[in-house]
């Protein structure tokens, strides 16, 4: 995928999702930026099959969550406002759809294979989010005490 194309599609998709979730107006653009960065990392890592999809997703969602924490501090809003639109591009909608489709066509082997991969990917998203949520406050606190 062309990089320029990747940038604007992921930005619009994430920002649009912010609107669908009724995010405050100020937070729509930052949410879009979060999603864009996450998608670029994901595409960069998984694009040529260099890295595993699950690993790429975990790293991307970690970065998204980290940026969301920063934005949450700047705008004084809950983290979820930014992270929700940020992780949307990573959600394995395609995988879930393919799983469903194989199930419908009675191809259970393929369905289970795709389904477990989808499940792992959504687990990776949550892992990235939670990791950022626990590590970042610790780092921030320790830098403050050092000062």
């Amino acid at each position: 995928m062309h990089i320029f194309e990747a940038i604007w599609t992921s930005f619009i998709a994430s920002a649009g999702f912010g609107i669908l979730f009724n995010v405050p107006r100020k937070a729509v653009i930052p949410g879009g930026i979060c999603g864009m960065i996450g998608w670029l990392i994901f595409e960069g890592m998984s694009g040529n099959n260099q890295f595993d999809l699950v690993l790429a997703t975990a790293l991307a969602s970690f970065v998204v969550a980290a940026i969301s924490h920063l934005y949450a501090r700047i705008y004084r809003m809950p983290v979820i406002i930014f992270s929700v639109s940020g992780i949307i591009p990573l959600v394995p909608g395609g995988g879930a759809y393919d799983t469903m489709r194989q199930l419908v066509e009675n191809d259970y082997n393929e369905a289970i294979q795709l389904g477990s991969q989808t499940f792992l990917i959504s687990g990776a998203i949550a892992f990235g989010l939670v990791l950022a949520g626990t590590i970042l406050p610790i780092i921030l606190r320790s830098t403050r005490t050092v000062k």
Partner: protein, 234 residues
């Protein structure tokens, strides 16, 4: 707040903070997606107050979450009186959704098109995905307003999306059926639910994590059924 897609821990946190600010000695809160149970202990009293609040309707309106969050902070820092706080809450309850329906539909249209491209669809799939996504979202909004059967709106919206996508393929407008459907279905996907579910589970809120997960599963299943119906029958 819980009705609008906040995380469980945020709700518990807010309630405890509010209770402490209004001079309660201790507060115990138990929050699940369908009910809030809280008891308050006042100083110098042997009895404590207990209350259960049943929650029936759930949707995602993060704007409200932000407003209530701000209010509870304000109570803590400026010590608002109970009456003003209650008035503010009433005002928040009455605020309309942050965006009118047509803006949301427009957003859904753009999101659908972009997702079709992101999942490696070709440019020929861009327009059909936008049309299918827009049609699906309109159906979703309208049905949700008039019929209160859960998951029904998602099912029918997914069915319409499948139908439009199939039409686009047979008329030669689109290229790959799969890409169009994936893109168009994305606005309906329960993204907030899934993340909140896993986060609650990891934070130890097992009950709410599992029930949110079940709700997300059912929603996804409704969408899948709607699409599958089109694929199998046509």
């Amino acid at each position: 707040m819980l009705q609008n897609g906040a995380e469980t821990y945020r709700v518990e946190d807010t309630i405890t903070r509010l209770a402490q600010n209004y001079g309660m000695k201790a507060a115990q809160v138990f929050v699940t997606p369908t009910a809030i149970i809280l008891s308050l202990f006042e100083k110098g009293r042997t009895m404590d107050y207990t209350k259960i609040v049943r929650i029936v309707d759930r949707s995602t309106d993060l704007h409200v979450v932000v407003l209530v969050n701000d209010l509870s902070r304000k109570v803590a820092s400026e010590s608002l009186s109970l009456d003003t706080a209650r008035k503010e809450l009433k005002k928040i309850e009455k605020t309309p959704e942050a965006y009118p329906a047509w803006v949301q539909t427009l957003a859904a249209i753009l999101v659908s098109g972009c997702f079709a491209l992101m999942f490696k669809g070709s440019w020929r799939d861009f327009m059909p995905a936008m049309i299918a996504g827009g049609a699906g979202y309109v159906v979703f909004l309208v049905i949700k307003r008039y019929i209160s059967v859960r998951f029904f709106a998602e099912l029918l919206a997914a069915f319409v999306i499948g139908l439009v996508a199939k039409l686009a393929i047979t008329s030669g407008m689109g290229n790959q059926l799969d890409k169009i459907i994936i893109g168009a279905v994305m606005p309906l996907v329960p993204g907030v639910l899934i993340t909140n579910a896993v986060r609650d589970l990891m934070a130890g809120h097992l009950v709410s994590g599992i029930s949110l997960g079940a709700e997300a599963m059912l929603t996804a299943f409704a969408i899948g059924t709607g699409i599958a119906f089109v694929i199998v029958t046509l």
